[in-house]
């Protein structure tokens, strides 16, 4: 067979061109522009200013560094609080319960909804006087747990993580269920015969066999965490003050105030962080590909 004729290269043109022009090119341009004073007033006249933007980010008192720190913190915490409960729930559901399908459908549901919507719903739920959360706490005689969920500095991050987990656990869980259902039952029977308890089965059978799903969840979870924007933007818009500002919210702010060069510099930092993680993951995947 003539491979060139039946698998023609022009099949590749549209997606590769779109991806290169509207995805990669902006990233590459962004790296270049991050060394310039490009802004809303510069009208075509853009000057090279070396590392000035980066100096501003790393040394000014405008809290950009805190924003980067928040992004990293969000990535770590949001992954931990979703992955572990999701894994346990997936194991529970996979052991064969009645109504398993219904539970899974409902738990996955929040993750398909727009963040804007979820943000608005929780804005109402977190309302101090009439919101569902505080009202429920009072009804359960737990009034002392009432909080100003979105305006108290000590609580606001917990609220964001709560909403994030509420939205994301079902999604992570579904990927784990898919992985779990591919593990042969005989492995567990063998472990049972050897007298392994729940934790031993988890450690020696489930986790090693799940490495693919864990990897996928980590990759999606880490890239999601680093890029986080909507949920913070709608719930707190970075506030109170700058307490919940993350990299992408700063980047958007800088863009909307016309400081394009600074905005691209922040984006470039994000790009470098994700590129390091991305290269590592793609390496792992291509290794697996070779082994197949």
């Amino acid at each position: 067979m003539n491979k060139k004729r039946i698998y023609p290269s022009w099949f590749l043109i549209i997606p590769i061109a779109l991806y290169a022009i509207f995805f990669l090119l902006p990233s590459a341009l962004g790296v270049g522009y991050s060394f310039t004073d490009w802004n809303a007033r510069s009208l075509g006249e853009v000057n090279f200013i070396g590392f000035e933007n980066y100096k501003e980010i790393f040394t000014s008192d405008k809290d950009y560094l805190t924003g980067i720190g928040h992004t990293l913190m969000f990535t770590v915490v949001s992954n931990i609080i979703k992955l572990i409960p999701a894994l346990l729930l997936a194991i529970l559901l996979n052991e064969g319960m009645k109504a398993k399908g219904l539970y899974r459908t409902l738990l996955y549901l929040p993750s398909i909804l727009p963040f804007v919507i979820i943000g608005l719903i929780f804005k109402s739920i977190f309302n101090y006087k009439t919101g569902l959360l505080n009202v429920t706490l009072e009804a359960l005689h737990l009034g002392f747990l009432k909080q100003k969920w979105l305006s108290d500095l000590d609580v606001v991050w917990k609220s964001i993580f709560g909403v994030d987990a509420w939205r994301g656990i079902g999604y992570v869980m579904t990927i784990f269920i898919a992985g779990l259902s591919a593990i042969p039952k005989s492995y567990y029977e063998a472990a049972q015969i050897d007298g392994a308890n729940f934790w031993q089965r988890l450690r020696h059978v489930t986790l090693p066999m799940l490495s693919g799903s864990i990897m996928i969840n980590l990759v999606f979870g880490i890239t999601y965490g680093l890029k986080v924007f909507d949920i913070v933007y709608v719930l707190t818009n970075g506030g109170p003050g700058h307490a919940t500002e993350v990299l992408s919210t700063y980047s958007y702010q800088l863009y909307s105030t016309g400081q394009y060069g600074m905005s691209t510099a922040l984006n470039t930092i994000l790009l470098v962080i994700t590129a390091i993680i991305g290269v590592f993951v793609v390496r792992q995947m291509s290794k697996q590909e070779v082994q197949q």
Binding site: K3, F22, L113, S124, W166, T174, A178, K227, S248, L271
Partner: protein
């Protein structure tokens, strides 16, 4: 009761509690969307004293929801169709002709799974070719953004379609187009459906892309329309809740119809080793 029985009761209790935590907020939104302004402001779970179906009529008019709905539909349908089909064609060639160039292109595209989009320079690129602030520009951006995920998912799946199928078709005189659309596409149906549904829901929910790329409200998808409506009517929770219900409905319907493809797709595409 035996120990097993107790365990099973506890498990169900846990699951029901979690499902309630998911459902209650939706119930709160739905029930309050039928109340008067002052009653909805209390956000309680009780039934409305007076059912205000007119909230929906009001919000559709005031919130420009019909326009938002048709924009969202346009963005989600067109970009997903073009994105999934063109990614499938590319994945097909990448999977069947594994030479150096194609392997490089595959990993080149995969980088897009991780990299963040730089919207500031994307706006620059779009305005250079005169597509900034246009619906076509938004469509192109949505299409481009889904290519990495689609190629990743579909290429994995194509490997499991036997090459003998291609050979038989070619011997019968099929060209590349008819081979792909008549033989390969039907075999790929489950994974194409997965990509289609996940990406449709993704575009429908997206907020960041239109936030950066559209400044005219006539281009806003539903997510932006709702957010703008909230900004203007912060105290009218009855309208906001009705708006939320209408924005969620289409995705929930697509989700319930396409559910089996989502779970199936996550098994075959993402977790395949």
């Amino acid at each position: 009761m035996t120990k097993k029985r107790i365990q099973s009761v506890l498990k169900h209790a846990l699951m029901i509690a979690l499902c309630l935590a998911v459902v209650l907020p939706f119930f709160m939104v739905l029930i309050n969307s039928f109340k008067t302004k002052s009653e909805a402001a209390r956000m309680s779970l009780s039934l409305p004293t007076e059912w205000m179906f007119s909230n929906y009529v009001e919000v559709i008019e005031k919130g420009k929801l019909l326009q938002g709905f048709s924009n969202s539909m346009l963005y989600a349908l067109v970009s997903t169709l073009v994105g999934v089909v063109s990614s499938a064609m590319a994945s097909f060639v990448m999977s069947r002709r594994r030479n150096k160039v194609n392997n490089f292109l595959y990993y080149f595209v995969l980088c897009g799974l991780f990299f963040p989009v730089n919207y500031v320079t994307l706006v620059r690129v779009l305005s250079t070719i005169g597509l900034n602030n246009t619906k076509i520009g938004i469509l192109i951006v949505f299409t481009s953004a889904m290519i990495p995920f689609c190629v990743f998912t579909i290429r994995n799946f194509i490997s499991s379609v036997p090459v003998e199928m291609d050979e038989a078709a070619v011997i019968d005189g099929a060209g590349p187009m008819s081979l792909f659309f008549k033989i390969i596409v039907p075999m790929l149906k489950p994974t194409l459906m997965t990509c289609f549904i996940l990406q449709f829901m993704g575009v429908w929910s997206d907020f960041l892309t239109p936030l950066y790329l559209s400044s005219k409200s006539s281009m806003f998808p539903m997510t932006m329309a709702v957010y703008q409506f909230f900004g203007k009517n912060t105290n009218y929770w009855n309208y906001i809740f009705a708006d939320i219900v209408l924005t969620c409905l289409p995705v929930i319907i697509v989700y319930l119809l396409g559910q089996r493809y989502i779970v199936g797709g996550l098994t075959s595409g993402a977790v395949k080793e």
